[in-house]
Symmetry: C2
Subunit: 212 residues, 2 copies
């Protein structure tokens, strides 16, 4: 791993991190920083040390444009599923920064990595998929620590994305992540600022020795 | 959030983090620290700001004992599925620290949180489950930053765990995590030290503008 010029605190980074849509500057990314944040993702825990992830970095504008068009269709489909009041709130919410962000990173899951006997995946088939998500959170935090931003786009159909990037049938795309320098990070999540939803108190999420 | 006495660097924490089995001391945990690490988990990104996770903290020894016995059965089942050489290596690997660790934390997923119209989950049903995993990684890193350790146990059947903790049918347990103070963290993952598997080079996981 290359050493970062500074290493902000973990808690500081966790609380600073946002799901970014509107603040990307689009500046070219420094390859050393990009490699370092992918190295942080690659250092995530994984079931049976399977490291079942891959990272497809996308800076080709034509590919981004095709994906962006697909996302607009899926945005419309979601909007059409809402009642009038929710559709009105949703209309004011930006859901992606695909074209404005410097690069996109598609993270994939390969169930065959380390198979057939992945230690810890014997009873829970999804455990490998869970590992990929742990890597994504490491990526999100390290991007934040670098002063960049990241936004997870999930308004897409997996077969479309697989086809767009020639991803084999056996590999599952898990997320399309917009990544790059930002002007700033907001203090409050976009969806809360837009009046879509408020955050839940931690106390309500804590239970002791059983569900009740 | 209560302020930690120190806030170690993000990269430092990512690279220090291990999947802990053998190093737990079993000391009682400080409730302020426990609340702080759960607060870090609760600050994770989530699809549509749904925060679909719950945290069940378990310090009841009888519950831990029952779960431990179940895990031994599943360990044996996995061992029986291996060829002789892999079974020999597996026999030397400790897969959990359920009884030795101070507390266990079961993290669950509630698909009904924010439903029916979870923003960003319209095309990818698993997106809520992915959010829960992001919270688990925040927990893992903050536990590490506190000088504690964490180990994810996945040798169990979900219906058994749901029954053990009276988790409703609609809620999915995602992981059983052993948490608490440790004597130290190893520098190399247990499975690598045991000769089960070696880590993959980051370069092999990186792709540009498509799979190939």
């Amino acid at each position: 791993m290359t050493t970062p010029s500074s290493d902000p605190g973990l808690y500081e980074t966790i609380h600073k991190r946002r799901d970014v849509r509107a603040q990307f500057t689009g500046e070219p990314v420094d390859l050393e920083i990009l490699t370092r944040v992918l190295g942080a993702a690659h250092s995530a825990p994984s079931v049976g040390l399977s490291q079942p992830w891959d990272f497809i970095v996308i800076d080709d504008q034509a590919i981004k444009q095709k994906f962006w068009e697909h996302v607009q269709d899926e945005r419309q489909a979601f909007s059409d599923s809402l009642d009038a009041e929710r559709a009105r709130v949703f209309a004011g919410i930006k859901i992606e920064g695909i074209l404005e962000s410097s690069v996109s990173i598609v993270v994939t899951y390969d169930p065959s990595r380390g198979a057939p006997s992945v230690l810890g995946r014997y009873t829970i088939a999804d455990a490998g998929l869970f590992s990929v998500c742990l890597a994504i959170e490491n990526l999100w935090l390290s991007v934040t620590a670098e002063g960049w931003g990241m936004g997870w786009v999930s308004f897409y159909r997996e077969p479309f994305l697989r086809d767009l990037l020639s991803i084999p049938e056996t590999i599952r795309p898990v997320g399309w992540l917009c990544v790059g320098p930002v002007t700033h990070l907001e203090e409050t999540p976009d969806l809360e600022r837009a009046g879509w939803r408020t955050r839940r108190d931690l106390e309500k999420a804590m239970h002791w020795n059983g569900w009740n």
